[in-house]
Point group: D2
Chain length 149, copies 4
């Protein structure tokens, strides 16, 4: 497997994930090539991310009114996915900034093969002013704890 530049040591990188969500691949997410379309993994990344945030009670529309928006996203497609495949999608916060999060993704099929890896930064902003809003320190600690656990 060709290692993307956001993975230094694959075994170590894998060992840092603990949260995962089971993704159900939908028929409409395949394309005429017979496999899952290249757009669909980004739907799955978002699903895993919102599930993870939900577990951490990092609400998408909290009382402070700030929202996390995506600054960048990348996905490496290591193995084709098909309708009927089982996909376990792991997610971790790899590092935190003042108002941003670097989030990593790992997708494994039913044969324990790596199908997808990815990462992307989120920035916490005020939707009115579009200015970055600092993230709560306890939230960031909880996120990094998950990584080390």
């Amino acid at each position: 497997m060709r290692l993307p530049n956001y993975i230094k040591d694959l075994e170590e990188w894998k060992s840092e994930f603990s949260f995962s969500t089971d993704i159900k691949i939908r028929f409409s997410e395949t394309d005429m090539f017979g496999h899952v379309n290249n757009v669909s993994p980004f739907i799955y990344f978002e699903e895993a991310r919102t599930d993870y945030f939900n577990e951490l009670q990092y609400l998408l529309n909290d009382s402070s009114g700030s929202i996390p928006i995506v600054a960048d996203l990348q996905c490496d497609y290591h193995k084709e996915l098909y309708f009927g495949n089982t996909l376990k999608l792991y997610v971790k916060v790899n590092s935190t900034g003042n108002s941003s999060l670097d989030i990593h993704y790992l997708g494994i099929n039913e044969n324990d093969e790596i199908c997808l890896t990815g990462r992307g930064a989120l920035v916490n902003i005020d939707p009115q002013t579009k200015k970055a809003v600092p993230l709560d320190d306890r939230l960031k600690e909880k996120m990094l704890e998950t990584k080390s656990s």
Copy 2:
């Protein structure tokens, strides 16, 4: 062609459309059966509808704050669509209520064949109270004019 119950006379029904929009079928909208997935025509209906509203200056978020929401939708798939097909999607307001619209759709491919027909009701509501809000009479007139022209 089997006539859906919302079409009494096909030639008359067709003749009442004047507004159309050219739909670009996207690769991601096909599925593993090789054709356009059954979900995609509803994306196209919405695109034609919003283009039509835009032309009529019926804004989706106007100053009155009311928004049109979909009450029901139906689509008849008369001919499979494929990536690379040209789709001209006609839309008309078939009838109007106090705060609702019955909208009809007709999709034609590059060989002038009917691929899709459909219809659906919209209701104009106040997004806070969820109550129906009457539609402007001049707007309704303009909509029905388009039909008869």
Copy 3:
């Protein structure tokens, strides 16, 4: 609740469903009106339908090579859905033809409220010739059994 014409008696109609699947509403399936977009329920209908077929071992690409394609689809939106809602989607075969199925749908939220109802016909075809292919009688029996159980 306004009854669509494919429901004669709501209580009887509801009682005939037994198979259901839990739909996870994804963030990307909402729209700028804040609720689930009108296109998304058709994704959910397909998910419930393929799950149901899977349970009945009605494979989408079986050895006979025939495939079920959608002839028509309709959805009634009885209550807005939001990200975070739980949606249980029931599906039943309401009636069968020689090579076609009339499939009905019922979507219930976490408060046991009806959010979605719908129906649509599938036709079993040979993807090469596009001709209808008769459905297996035992399969049709199994489908109608599920309804009556």
Copy 4:
């Protein structure tokens, strides 16, 4: 603007694009945050890519039977997009390998502001054996010509 690592000199990088396609942002591609969802730009990248291939007559299902599949994709979101925005999406082949292409993307709104940049590799494979298939030399030349013109 923060420069992604696939852009060395922004002005030079921009000057190398010549092909573009006009993307129509669809209402269903927004989300409850009011803007275009983070998944949607990958739909737009694919649309621009297939339009570009079409112009070059690099067919997605050619007689050789080989197909281009996505090896990786990344997107940087420089400015939020909204329903109603005009998006011109430029695409170029940045470099070619034996059987692979590195494709770059640039999305500009109606105020000539950079909203999206991105890149991703495609690999030309035999869909049966999943083995890489060399790309035609004349095709690769044509692709790089477009870049320099």
